[in-house]
Assembly symmetry: C2
Homo-oligomer: 164 residues x 2
Amino acid sequence: MGPMPARRSRCPVSMSLDLLGDRWSLLIVRDLMVRGYRTFREFQRSGEGIATNILAERLHRLEAGGIVVREPTGDGRSTHYRLTQKGIALAPVLLELLLWGAHHEDSDAPCAIIEQMEQNRAAVLAETYRRWKDRDPTPLLPPFRSPTAPAAAPAAASNRRKSK
Amino acid sequence: MGPMPARRSRCPVSMSLDLLGDRWSLLIVRDLMVRGYRTFREFQRSGEGIATNILAERLHRLEAGGIVVREPTGDGRSTHYRLTQKGIALAPVLLELLLWGAHHEDSDAPCAIIEQMEQNRAAVLAETYRRWKDRDPTPLLPPFRSPTAPAAAPAAASNRRKSK
DNA sequence: CAATTCACTTGCATTTTGCAACCTAAAATC
DNA sequence: GATTTTAGGTTGCAAAATGCAAGTGAATTG
């Protein structure tokens, strides 16, 4: 069932890529981490267009790799996925990947937000980690659509007061 | 010739993964960055066992993506590959991926070195960047073989004096 | 000028991916 | 309480990517 091919080397980067080196795995982790996604459906509708068989297989792989856990909900039909400690520890990797992409590829990310995240790495990571611990599902980042972002003021570190 | 499939979304992480989301690309970038690799042969003998056709195709893709450049050497038969500014800017991504792998996967990396890199991220990155600018090919990291590493004392930030 | 080195290409079998359709079980709705 | 909807997947199949071994052609060494 698992198509994971083979382990080539025991260096850390190589081992990380054995588990995460494909077009989808880190995207799923990011959706769990910074958007509030929990369910199969949400990943599917993520806008990236992952096929359902690949999504199912990746979720199994990430689970087998200790990056996500499956949590049954009270509601009998829906399952929630959640990052483990090992999974949330990928936050710095994803943050750097996001910043690199925003600077060097022509993305839709608003410059102001990127600038702020870059200036406040530690605070962004702390907030990410807090949301994970608190199971706070509000998106840390909006899906980067309109440049005049209407949604909740995101990310930035300095304006932290109690929610609600 | 280029099998690059399709662009799914314009978010920065997704775009980064369109270019780098496979098992080999980031490994090649790492070999250029922290080991002193320059030539096709060196990548081939890297110990990871990449097939030559895949290596050739990935080098073309990375070149097309502006991450590496091909520099002909005086010697007519050998080509050197070198990271561009955009390529060396992946250093933070690779550092975080290395640290994550070292902590969460069971790798061969010596704990002491990992600890030191983690404590001195900025210095490790500065040294990486300096080596790139100076075209200094001495490996920043040894290939992590024996735990009693015999090779040159690597990485650490504090012991920086003029080379030679 | 023969052998070797280097940087690839080519052919071909195997694996992985993408796509659409289908399935099962549990809510919701009527 | 039968039907429809929702959630979370499987299954089948064609297309693409990958791994492997072998081959190519130019430059260089002996």
